[in-house]
Symmetry: C2
Subunit: 112 residues, 2 copies
DNA sequence: GGCTATCATTTCGCCGTCGAAACGACAAGC
DNA sequence: GCTTGTCGTTTCGACGGCGAAATGATAGCC
């Protein structure tokens, strides 16, 4: 896939996303959501902050939002009660699967 | 490209975007930027609002931002002075080319 | 010329997010 | 058991975006 086609795909997805649930999430929240579901667990606040190169308060705020939407869940780490483990939810899994299908469809339309 | 790979690509791009200029734009601003550069001209406020299914004031506000960053330019339509034509800039073209290259690179890494 | 429609913008109050700093809870070292 | 360090959260003031409604300018129609 060359850069031109990749950009065209990004265009389609960006426009499409405005009309769906993803419009409720900003860029950071989206990136965190994807990191939680596609990245290597376990996920902690500091870990997400480091991987995404953003501040810890920003991660905390984004998790508030994701938790309110039932896209993520918090659980204190029993082996270190200062740490918080960020976990996936069923609703989040379903949402991301649907989103993946939409992206895949757009990619197919774009001839990728 | 199947849905799974498309989602993995989206993940990489979303994370990567946080560290670059695209982080300064929200989802609507990003979609409008891409529509201006990849969509069929001419672009007017009402046209963009219709294509992206958002309100005209939202388009106006987003254009303020894009203009401030020199990613877009306004020009009144001489044939209908109520209309505004949205035009591309050199800086925007360069920015999008660089961004396309980064996406393309990530796609290659992801084996697409 | 006057009436109405259309285009884009501005205004209004409201809400969410921002970075930086302060904070409370827990852990680790001595 | 104190001190120091780490983890996550909350607070603070400021800023920007939101939808809905009002506004100004231009066009079209009779």
């Amino acid at each position: 896939m060359d850069a031109r086609k990749a950009l065209a795909l990004w265009h389609r997805v960006a426009v499409e996303s405005l009309s769906h649930d993803l419009a409720e999430l900003n860029q950071r929240q989206t990136a965190i959501l994807l990191e939680i579901y596609l990245g290597e667990p376990p996920h902690t606040v500091r870990g997400l902050a480091r991987r995404l190169a953003i501040s810890k308060p920003a991660v905390t705020r984004a998790l508030h939002r994701l938790e309110a939407l039932d896209y993520a869940r918090r659980k204190v780490d029993e082996s270190d009660k200062r740490s918080v483990l960020v976990q996936r939810t069923v609703k989040g899994s379903v949402f991301l699967r649907d989103f993946a299908d939409r992206i895949g469809g757009l990619a197919k339309e774009a001839g990728l």
